[in-house]
Amino acid sequence: MKEANKMEKQNFNIAQEVEKTLNCFSEIQKPELNPYFVSKLSARMQAQQQKNIPKIAVTFKLALALFILLLNFATIFNYLNNSTKINSDENIYSAIQSEYSVDATDLYADNLENFNN
């Protein structure tokens, strides 16, 4: 019986503590805001703006480097594309040459024969 009473009292105390803690926000004195809040904010914003300037510069430099790199790639690609085109042109010429048996030395030999005759 004594033990039960003790338990009940303990539970009551805990319940009281819980209630007090749940309502402590209304008891608590709200802190005062720093009087220099606005000037601090202003300084922070200025610092952030100054920090952003090099960021913009870095971004610009990176973009420029990327652009140059892309330009290089485009030039190389274009060059390779053209050289394969030249190669393919040469293939056509040699194909025509072999098809019609046209040869520079043959032409020269023909001309020489004609001239001798």
Binding site: E17, T21, F25, I28, N34, V38, L41, S42, M45
Partner: protein, 192 residues
Amino acid sequence: MNEQLLVQQIQQGSEQAFFQLVEQYKTMVFYTCNGFVQDREEAEDLAQEVFIELFQSIETFNFQSKLSTWIYRIAVNKSLDLLKYKNRKKRFSGIKQVFGVDRETDNISATYNFEASADIENQERAQILKEAINKLPKNQQIAFTLNKYDDLSYAEIAEIMQTSVSAVESLIHRAKKKLQELLYNYYQIHKK
């Protein structure tokens, strides 16, 4: 000055109008942040971040809600982000402590608990309550803090959280129940 005009001026880049708005809302923002983090310095820092974000994103404000509601939303989100970051850090330092790497966190919490204050008992209670609130689901956490610390009405909270008044009522009811449970367990372990 009319609030709409003030916002329009800020949207056009007027810093003067912006600082007028800061003057008007600084206390409200500070109290809201403090309600979540329960630390003056951190709340002040957060409040500054709130105003910086406000300045950067004011162009997106389209007067569909009240300006104060919009500012409350930014303040709540910023505060929750900080709490999330701190919880993650705490968990990480817990792991570090297990491996005996970090011993600093003990000192930090000790200095926090015995912060110079007129009502130390209430500060301690607030700290216990804060720990318990941190364990609540996000929505309950927001609703309970805005109601109990910022003294906002259910209707105002509903507007901030973009939900119905009855949903807010239910959130606060569930939050209280869960907090009672958590605090009961806490006091059972830490019997005086």
